[in-house]
C-alpha cells in the first residue's frame, strides 16, 4: 500500500476525463443496450484506428489534426455502413458488427506489414491511457461532448438510424483516445446494464452515479494499491454496478417479474 500516488494533481485530469467520457456514453449506452449491439464500440474504435493507418499509408503526417480527421472520417464511414446494414438486414446487425470488427483489426495488420511506424499509433489510439491525459487535451474532448449532448437533448434522447450511428462514431473516436478501449466499453455498457430496471430521468441519474462512483473509487484504489488505473476502473465500475443492485428501488427486475 502506498499513498504517494494519491494526489489530486495526478488523479484530477483522469477524473475529469472520466466525467467527459461518461457524459456521452451513459445515454448512448442505454440505446446500445436496447438495440442489442454492445460490441459496436469495439468495431468503431478499430475502424477509426484503421483509418489512421490508412491515412499514414497515403502520406498524412503522423501527428496533428490530420490523424484526428482520418480517424473521424473512417469512424463515420463505418457508422454509415452499419446504419445501412441496420436498415437493410436488421436481424443480422450483431454479426455484421462482429465481422466489421475483425476486418478492421486485420485490415490494419495487412496495411502495417508495409508501414510499421503506424503500429505505435494503432496502439496509441486503442489503448489511450487515462493517466496520461492533460487538461489541455480535455478541452476539445469536452467541447465535442457538449455538442453531442446538445444534439441528443434537442432530439429528446431518441436518435434514429444514421444520426445515432454518426453521433456514436464521433463519441467513440474521442473517448478511445482519452481512456482506451476497455474503459470505453465499460463506461458504455456497465452503467446502462446496472440501471436497466429503470426508465427516464431516474435511469440517467442512477447510471451517471454508478459511472462516477466507479471512476472515483477506481482511481483511488489504483493509487493506493499501485495498480494500472484503466484496468482498476473497469473492475470498480462493475463492483459499483453490483452494489446498486442491493438497493431495491434500483434492482433490475428478474425475468419472471416482467
Amino acid at each position: 500500500m502506498t499513498l504517494e500516488g494519491l494526489d489530486i494533481s495526478i488523479l484530477g485530469p483522469a477524473m475529469v476525463a472520466g466525467v467527459i467520457v461518461l457524459a456521452t456514453h451513459v445515454p448512448l449506452g442505454r440505446q446500445v443496450l436496447s438495440r442489442g449491439i454492445i460490441f459496436i464500440d469495439l468495431a468503431i474504435a478499430q475502424i477509426a484506428a484503421m483509418g489512421v493507418i490508412a491515412a499514414q499509408f497515403l502520406g498524412v503526417p503522423e501527428h496533428g489534426i490530420g490523424v484526428q480527421i482520418a480517424a473521424a472520417v473512417a469512424a463515420l464511414a463505418g457508422a454509415a455502413l452499419l446504419a445501412w446494414t441496420d436498415r437493410r438486414w436488421p436481424k443480422m446487425q450483431e454479426p455484421f458488427i462482429g465481422t466489421l470488427f475483425v476486418l478492421a483489426a486485420t485490415g490494419g495488420l495487412l496495411l502495417l506489414a508495409n508501414n510499421p511506424q503506424g503500429g505505435e499509433h494503432l496502439k496509441d489510439l486503442l489503448v489511450g491511457q487515462i493517466l496520461w491525459v492533460s487538461y489541455r487535451q480535455l478541452v476539445p474532448a469536452a467541447l465535442i461532448s457538449l455538442v453531442l449532448l446538445a444534439i441528443m437533448w434537442l432530439r429528446g434522447g431518441r436518435l434514429a438510424g444514421v444520426l445515432f450511428y454518426a453521433l456514436f462514431a464521433l463519441a467513440i473516436t474521442v473517448s478511445v483516445q482519452l481512456v482506451g478501449v476497455y474503459l470505453v466499453f465499460a463506461s458504455l455498457i456497465v452503467p446502462a446494464l446496472a440501471t436497466s430496471g429503470l426508465a427516464g430521468k431516474r435511469q440517467l441519474v442512477a447510471a451517471y452515479s454508478v459511472g462516477i462512483a466507479g471512476y472515483l473509487s477506481g482511481l483511488v484504489l489504483s493509487a493506493v494499491f499501485d495498480l494500472p488505473s484503466g484496468a482498476m476502473i473497469v473492475w470498480t465500475l462493475a463492483a459499483c454496478a453490483l452494489l446498486v443492485q442491493l438497493l431495491p428501488a434500483l434492482r433490475a427486475p428478474a425475468p419472471a417479474a416482467r
Partner: protein, 299 residues
C-alpha cells in the same frame, strides 16, 4: 536584512537540504543497478520497469507519476527507447527539474550507438533514428555511461561528490577485472552464428564476436511472414547456427517454433538486471548471460 533572507531562500531553492537524499528515478533495472553501484546509500533509487516487461510500452500507474515528481535525477536509456511513455510521464509529473538539463540523464548521450540510420526510412521498420538503444550488454559502453553518470551525480549532489568519485574508481576496477574474466570465458563463443528474436543483441554480439544471421521479426516490431520464416529455417540448417536468442520478457513461442523445425537450441537470456535469479546486479547479469550462452554447447 531582506536581501540576506532572499538570497538564503534562493540558495535553499537550488541547494539540496543537508538531510534530504538525492532522489533518482531509473527507467530500466540496469540503470537502477548502476546508480546503486555508484551511489550506494547516498541516494534513493526507484526503478520504473522490470526485466519481465517490454520497455517500449508501460501501463500508467499513479505511483509512477508521483515518483517522477519527487525525483532530482532521471536515468534512462534514451535513443527513443522510452519515447512511447517517458515524455507523457515527465509532462504529467510537472517536474521541470528532470524535463531537461542536469536532472535528465540519457545513457545514449554518453556513447555512440550502432545501427544509426543515415536516413530514417519508414520501409525499414520500427527503427530508432538515434540508433539501436539496446546497448546495456556491452560492458565497455556501460563503463563509459558510469563515468558520465558519476559526474552527473557529483554535479547534482556536490556534498557527496568525493564519494561518487571514489565509488566510480572502485566500480571501474572491479568492472575491468570482470570484463577480462568474461572475455576469457566467452572465447569459445567467438565466430558463433545466432538467430535472434528482436534485434536487441547487436552490442553483445559485437563484443563477443558472435554473428547474427537472422531475426524472427523481419523488421523490428512487425510479425514475420511465411516467406521470411522459411528463409530462416534454411539459414538455420545450412549455416550451422549455434543458438536462437530470446529475452526473458519475450514470448518464447516463436523461438521454440524455429527450434523445433531446425534442431537449433533456444537460449533465453536475462537481458537486464532481474531477468533471472542470478542477475541480481550488473555483474550477475553478465555472468548469467555468458553462462547461459556457454551452456548451449553442453546440451
Amino acid at each position: 536584512m531582506m536581501k540576506k533572507i532572499l538570497s538564503a531562500l534562493l540558495l535553499g531553492l537550488f541547494a539540496l537540504p543537508a538531510c534530504a537524499k538525492l532522489q533518482v528515478f531509473a527507467c530500466e533495472p540496469e540503470w537502477g543497478s548502476l546508480v546503486q553501484e555508484l551511489a550506494g546509500d547516498k541516494v534513493d533509487v526507484s526503478v520504473g520497469t522490470t526485466a519481465m516487461q517490454d520497455v517500449h510500452q508501460i501501463d500508467a500507474k499513479p505511483s509512477l507519476i508521483a515518483r517522477v515528481r519527487k525525483a532530482n535525477l532521471l536515468v534512462c536509456t534514451g535513443a527513443e527507447l522510452e519515447v512511447g511513455w517517458l515524455p507523457q510521464l515527465i509532462q504529467q509529473s510537472g517536474n521541470h527539474a528532470v524535463a531537461d538539463g542536469p536532472g535528465y540523464f540519457m545513457a545514449a548521450s554518453q556513447i555512440t550507438t550502432l545501427e544509426k540510420p543515415s536516413q530514417v526510412d519508414r520501409a525499414a521498420g520500427d527503427v530508432h533514428p538515434e540508433g539501436n538503444p539496446h546497448f546495456q550488454l556491452d560492458p565497455y559502453r556501460v563503463l563509459k555511461i558510469a563515468d558520465g553518470l558519476a559526474a552527473r551525480l557529483a554535479e547534482l549532489d556536490a556534498a557527496n561528490a568525493a564519494t561518487y568519485q571514489q565509488r566510480l574508481a572502485d566500480f571501474t576496477t572491479r568492472w575491468q577485472a570482470a570484463i577480462k574474466r568474461w572475455e576469457a570465458r566467452a572465447a569459445p563463443l567467438k565466430g558463433r552464428k545466432v538467430i535472434v528474436h528482436h534485434v536487441s543483441w547487436i552490442y553483445l554480439e559485437q563484443w563477443l564476436g558472435m554473428q547474427e544471421v537472422g531475426a524472427l521479426e523481419p523488421k523490428p516490431g512487425v510479425p514475420p511472414t511465411s516467406a521470411h520464416l522459411s528463409s530462416l529455417i534454411s539459414t538455420a540448417k545450412e549455416q550451422g547456427v549455434y543458438a536462437i536468442i530470446s529475452a526473458a520478457y519475450q514470448d518464447p513461442k516463436p523461438a521454440q517454433w524455429l527450434s523445433e523445425r531446425t534442431g537449433v537450441p533456444v537460449v533465453v537470456l536475462p537481458y537486464t538486471v532481474g531477468g533471472d535469479a542470478q542477475s541480481k546486479d550488473l555483474f550477475g547479469l553478465f555472468d548469467s548471460t555468458i553462462d547461459k550462452l556457454l551452456g548451449v554447447a553442453k546440451k
